[in-house]
Amino acid sequence: MRRKSRASILILTVAFFAMFFLCILKGTAPIPPGELFQPQFHTILFLRLLRVLMAIIAGIGLSVSGIVLQALLRNPLAEPYLLGTSSGAGLGVLLAILLGVSSFLLPLAGFLTALITLFLVYRVAVHNGRIPIHTLVLSGAILSVALSAIIVFIISITANETLHDVMWWLWGSMQVYELPLFIIVAVIVTGGVALVFFFSRELDIFCLGEEEAVHAGISVENVKKILLGIVSLITASLVSLCGVIGFVGLIIPHMMRLCLGARHRQLLIGTVIASSVFMMACDLIARTAFAPVEIPIGVITALLGAPLFIILLKRKQRIQ
């Protein structure tokens, strides 16, 4: 078991570096690899590097958030947008576009409304100072549906260009428009993920249920609040900067559980590397497959993720 997981992580690491360099070398502009490092291409090199880093950050943030929610909910099918961040941010960005806010402020608007949504979701769920996790998911789903309805309503009474802008934003892109925003999000995600590692044993025990966690000496409500806070910040910041990117938070943890087992220390390490590789690959396809047209990355992750996921699901059914 241990040797097997060590080998898997080694393979993933090799894949990570291979993909990293591939993503730096390949791009919309056909520049021979040898010349890429010459001074006149420095800007392009920098932009590509930034994009690759964005893909890595997004992949890690979403998949680690997925793992946390899956453990807290004891359901391997939980995904990071369950708490309503995506439609919350969506509404904010839509309103900002309609109000003609400059593009620099779009992510901030999205982040703000995502946080407001999260706050409402928690307010609805909270009971006697506790957060019953299933009520939380239910209130997340309810608010999501309501906000999505508002989004559709607003789009349907406004002009078509807005629709295109919003759709584009919703389906996600790894294009970094504003360096300061990217840096802020990168700090939030890496800090949050590091904190999650800190709680890997608690996550193991949460998989057995909250009562088991009490029996193991964990202050359940406190740990839960910390973890939910981390996940909320990560998903809200990512969704407002790069849109909604589905399946990463679902498929990568699931695949890693099959390869590495359920213990979170290894699972988190494997997931961090694997989600980076996956997102870099998806972004590479998104920007090169139909160049110069760029496809929203959410389309690629969904098209790759859905069949992969169905295969895994069927395999699991066969085992059981």
């Binding site: 044993r201 193991d204 000496g217 087992g261």
Partner: protein, 264 residues
């Protein structure tokens, strides 16, 4: 001050506004093998949840080792008290050994990996519950009885001095029922492990427990040894059904015989 390991004094508890446990007082002595019996809904599980601190709100006073329960940090408590709850449903893909190792977590620091001793203790617990054979197997592929024994192994790996169990034998065949209770009895006698166990099977309670609490509607109806508690009068009054109480010829303890409809 008393010498009791656990002391419950005039305790009320419940969920939300509903009070389920009413004015309960009892003590658990070091080395006890205490059975809690009673009909469905009599508050046995709720009582256990209060004592294992899953339900944090209660009125009255509970002390463990002469310290108020509220003042003992959860982690310190978990190093001394373990609990085998009713069956869990999802295990992701944890192996039996990984589950048993999780029992070591209250003893481990945040960054501390499980060491040789921890693996040895987990293995010993798996052996004791007859589950060592499938230590590498996925929990989801085990039978309900096998899983239950792994969960007991996890509680043993916690190395508690007080062990709570909530109907641990309800999923087990008679062979494994006896095996688990024999194991508990051995730990109780040889290692002085104190045991508080909720049981549905009155005959198992009679055979193994040195003291029994019979609960009814959130109150203690009767407390004492098997002979004092398991009388046909007590049982008929609380369970509202006819029984015969004989003596088990091997152990000389009360043996309850159910009376079915056609024989009444």
């Amino acid at each position: 001050m008393s010498t009791a390991l656990l002391n419950v004094n005039d305790m009320n508890a419940g969920y939300g506004k509903e009070t389920i446990i009413k004015n309960i007082s009892f003590a658990v002595q070091q080395g006890d093998f205490l059975g809690i019996i009673g009909p469905n809904g009599s508050g046995k599980t709720t009582l256990l949840k209060v004592l294992t601190r899953v339900i944090p709100h209660y009125q009255g006073e509970i002390t463990f080792e002469n310290t108020l329960l509220r003042q003992i940090p959860l982690r310190a408590f978990a190093r001394k008290v373990a609990c085998v709850a009713q069956e869990s449903t999802s295990y992701f893909s944890f192996s039996a050994e990984e589950i048993a190792l999780l029992g070591r977590s209250p003893h481990l620091g945040r960054w501390q990996q499980e060491g040789k001793t921890d693996f040895a203790i987990a293995e010993e617990s798996l052996r004791a519950t007859d589950t060592l054979l499938f230590k590498d197997k996925d929990m989801n592929t085990l039978s309900a009885g096998e899983r239950q024994r792994v969960i007991i192994a996890k509680a043993l790996a916690q190395e508690p001095k007080l062990l709570f169990l909530d109907e641990p034998t309800s999923h087990l065949d008679i062979g494994h029922q006896i095996q688990i209770l024999n194991l508990l009895q051995k730990l109780n006698r040889e290692k002085n492990l104190t045991i508080v166990i909720v049981l549905h099977d009155l005959n198992l309670a009679s055979e193994y427990c040195n003291r029994i609490i019979l609960m009814d509607q959130g109150r203690i109806f009767k407390e004492g040894n098997a002979d004092e508690v398991l009388t046909y009068k007590n049982i008929e009054e609380v369970y509202k059904t006819l029984v015969l109480v004989h003596k088990n010829p091997l152990s000389n303890r009360p043996y309850i015989i159910l009376v079915s409809g056609k024989d009444r």
